[in-house]
């Protein structure tokens, strides 16, 4: 009896309910918004979680063929840039490219892996990448415009995955 009582705290810790899935919605197509879904997805997969990312609207940009390492940073309406760019300057031609080049520079200095590399790791580690059929239709995209290793699905596909024991995040 005594042993059983002592064992209880440990058992309670183990039985604590934990999410076993990570369900992410990626709805933006800029470089800085594309990173968090893939950093979290690959880390979660490494920690034994089942992961799915649902790409909707501009999020599809991330999984277009050859696009991952050419996404851009928006200098307009982005007061959080480490080097703040006034909107009136940000709208000038070439400023988006300049802000993007600056961001790549900072990320290389911090040894952040390229997005394409993270996408490869995600696919290798079984992360489900789901492209939203409706968004494909809206944006006039075809399956062939997207990278390999994707599923095409709708809201129900994502919800069915997310409805069981999942953490859900939106980017």
């Amino acid at each position: 009896m005594t042993a059983l009582t002592e064992a209880q705290p440990e058992a309670a810790t183990l039985d604590e309910p934990r999410a076993t899935r990570l369900a992410i919605i990626a709805s933006h197509g800029t470089l800085d918004t594309a990173y968090p879904p893939f950093i979290l997805a690959t880390a979660a997969a490494a920690m034994d979680m089942e992961v799915a990312i649902f790409f909707t609207f501009y999020g599809l940009e991330i999984i277009k063929k050859g696009k991952a390492d050419h996404l851009q940073v928006a200098p307009i309406a982005n007061p959080a840039m480490p080097l703040p760019v006034p909107n009136i300057i940000g709208m000038l031609p070439g400023m988006t490219a300049a802000a993007t080049a600056m961001m790549h520079n900072w990320m290389d200095r911090a040894h952040v892996p390229h997005l394409g590399e993270l996408i490869d790791i995600a696919r290798e580690s079984g992360v489900r990448l789901i492209a939203c059929q409706m968004s494909l239709d809206v944006l006039g995209l075809k399956r062939d415009d997207l990278i390999d290793g994707l599923e095409i699905g709708g809201a129900a596909t994502f919800l069915e995955f997310a409805s069981r024991n999942a953490i859900t995040l939106t980017f």
């Binding site: 880390a43 490494a46 920690m47 034994d48 979680m49």
Partner: protein
Amino acid sequence: MPVTADQTLDCSGLSCPMPIIKTRKALDTLSVGQVLKMIATDPGSQSDMDAFVKKTGHQLLAAEQDAGKFVFFIKKTR
């Protein structure tokens, strides 16, 4: 007692999430009971390795800090 490692993984210079991903890949190649020595320079890896073993159930035998490097000994438990 010093911990001996069966395999060493150097993640120096790598940032999140690469140390976690590479640690997982290295553990996959080990047998249960074997120990992985992981070296990182990312200060976030201290908190991350704690969380990693908590979630995966592997065992963190020791964590050391030496001249800007963080060294972890992780025992594969399953």
